[in-house]
Symmetry: C2
Subunit: 360 residues, 2 copies
């Protein structure tokens, strides 16, 4: 049965639909499309799997498609420009709707393209990975990467609605599935201890892709994120907590080259680093750190830093991260499992010790 | 004496300062800058004239500068990317402020860069041409061009404030000055008959750059635009009237190649075309058309279409313009001097006749 969550953002509020095979619901699409012009943006991996079903659901429209290369390394202004080229060649107006069919990379690029095309056209998120269903499709963050930093160029731009079809997770490879689970675990760590405990109990079945449990985990994750985003749409405070593990993680992604370490994998390592540093500061216990490591292990996620990385490289890459304000590196740390805090008021030696510990 | 207008947009409200030599007011800049990081974006023409004075006013900050090539043909995603490169190399955070020092091209590009850098940083508009002081610095429209259409990629993004220093107009060449006057005249034509009559009476002195009259004309133009923008920030209705002359004008700019015909010149021709078509429809009189031609002549603006343009080329270029909704070309036409209307409910033959008349 389909679940519907509402992301409450005033005039920019939108629903998230979660369920099996909802991509076939053409009337549900129709209720969110206001002109005949529709462009489906997808990639080479997703197109053979789900493009036909989406095109069929959109057959009453003048629907165009564009298939981009797959991978974080293609999340650039240059690749995104192909969307503009395609829409302008098709003479699409500012009433055209963009449908983003794919994982977080497609969602981020197609969403940013929608934010910019003729200064903003409506778009619909159809996330096909666990990570994008629980994270990047909720909250309106869109962006492309720059050689000097991830997600450095982008916009806050909300979709008309999100279609999270759980059936699409059946074709997800194991590594991508685990990467998505990192973000699910993150919601528990940030501010939902009850969910964290539930995940500890059910991780084995979740990793076996039990459909009912997965739908529950996706809905709870989306709800947790939607609550935070509704309270702080433009990331002036609370919303920053969603970046738990991201300052370390972005440095790992950039340092290793985009596409080498998956985003969720980097975030898993980053969360362990944040937990270890929190213990180093005396904010959480060694047992807490072990719980974090154990659940990430159960989700088959990496918890050690790639060998090529050095502490200096971390410091350099983290200094350009968006969490920096006037020079101090602000980090999201833990004061308990289920209680994250944003802080630049920590003993600097704890950060040094953490980087030294993890960069062997 | 400095005049201050307020653009009323709720949380995004901002002041426009108009006066002689206000670029030296460092405390006025300081009141709108919230971190130590400032990037001044300007071009090769403006830099030798005004960059030093602005850098001096900003000397208490960690101020960087970037000098872009001058001209509409450089208003591209590619050139704009240099702003991102520069800011990332300088490790500027999302608290950094961008100062746009130059005409409309610099304002549009720097503003769009501000909208996108780390999903949005504050920016300050310092327009140095008549056109940008009365038009592009008011209302938050930012954009770059695409080979298939002008301003096709952009964002609605409001500045922290606008500094319109009338002293900068002394160095403006005659052609650019006239181009700016086209937009001033536009406000009268759209919905301010009183201002239009005042302009008819004072055009000779204005063209002699009488400083007091110029300040009045700029303030009235900004107020007229600010009132319209406040009523319709995202151009869902009323604001479209500001595009009087623009659908024809954009086609001329694109058709002749960016940079060949100035924006204001193209808009002047476009306004005459709109007036002529309105007469063709019986909405205004031949005398009204003559008044429009006469005031544009007095402002030394072109009122005929470049010889290379054909009716087919117009139709093709106008079809991709943003004023198109589901196929019909919507135009801003006149029902009187001082009364513009947005319409797609006109006799198509009037458009054909207009294009045939103007393309000899």
């Amino acid at each position: 049965m389909m679940k519907t969550l509402q992301v409450a953002l005033g005039a920019r509020s939108y629903p998230i639909y979660i369920g099996q095979n909802i991509l076939t619901e053409s009337s549900l699409f129709a209720s969110h499309i206001k002109s005949r012009e529709v462009l489906v943006v997808t990639n080479e991996t997703v197109a053979p799997l789900y493009l036909d079903v989406v095109m069929t659901s959109l057959q009453d429209y003048r629907t165009e498609k564009i298939i981009l290369p797959d991978g974080e390394q293609y999340k650039t202004l240059e690749i995104m420009s192909r969307v503009f080229d395609h829409m302008l060649k098709a003479r699409f107006s500012r009433q055209a709707t963009i449908v983003a069919l794919g994982g977080g990379v497609i969602g981020d690029m197609a969403g940013f393209a929608a934010a910019c095309y003729q200064r903003g056209v409506p778009f619909i998120q159809v996330p096909t990975t666990l990570l994008s269903q629980v994270d990047s499709s909720v909250g309106g963050k869109t962006a492309v990467n720059h050689p000097l930093g991830k997600n450095m160029i982008g916009a806050f731009y909300q979709p008309q609605c999100v279609f999270a079809d759980t059936a699409t997770l059946n074709t997800l490879d194991d590594r991508q599935f685990s990467a998505g689970m990192a973000e699910v675990i993150k919601y528990g760590l940030i501010n939902d201890i009850e969910f964290f405990s539930w995940l500890e109990e059910n991780m084995t079945k979740l990793m076996d892709r039990d459909p009912e449990l997965l739908a529950q985990a996706i809905a709870r994750s989306c709800q947790d994120k939607a609550d935070i985003v509704a309270a702080d749409e433009y990331e002036t405070g609370l919303r920053a907590l969603l970046n738990l593990g991201h300052t370390f993680g972005h440095a790992i992604e950039t340092g290793c080259g985009y596409g080498q370490v998956l985003h969720g994998e980097a975030i898993a390592i980053g969360m362990v680093m944040a937990a270890w540093m929190s213990q180093c500061l005396g904010w959480i216990s060694a047992d807490d750190v072990k719980r974090v490591q154990a659940i990430l292990n159960a989700a088959r996620l990496p918890i050690t830093v790639p060998e090529t990385m050095t502490p200096d490289q971390f410091m350099s890459l983290m200094a350009v991260d968006k969490k920096v304000q006037d020079g101090a590196i602000r980090l999201i740390l833990l004061t308990a499992i289920g209680k994250a805090v944003l802080s630049d008021d920590y003993e600097p030696s704890a950060l040094d010790a953490t980087l030294t510990h993890f960069c062997q």
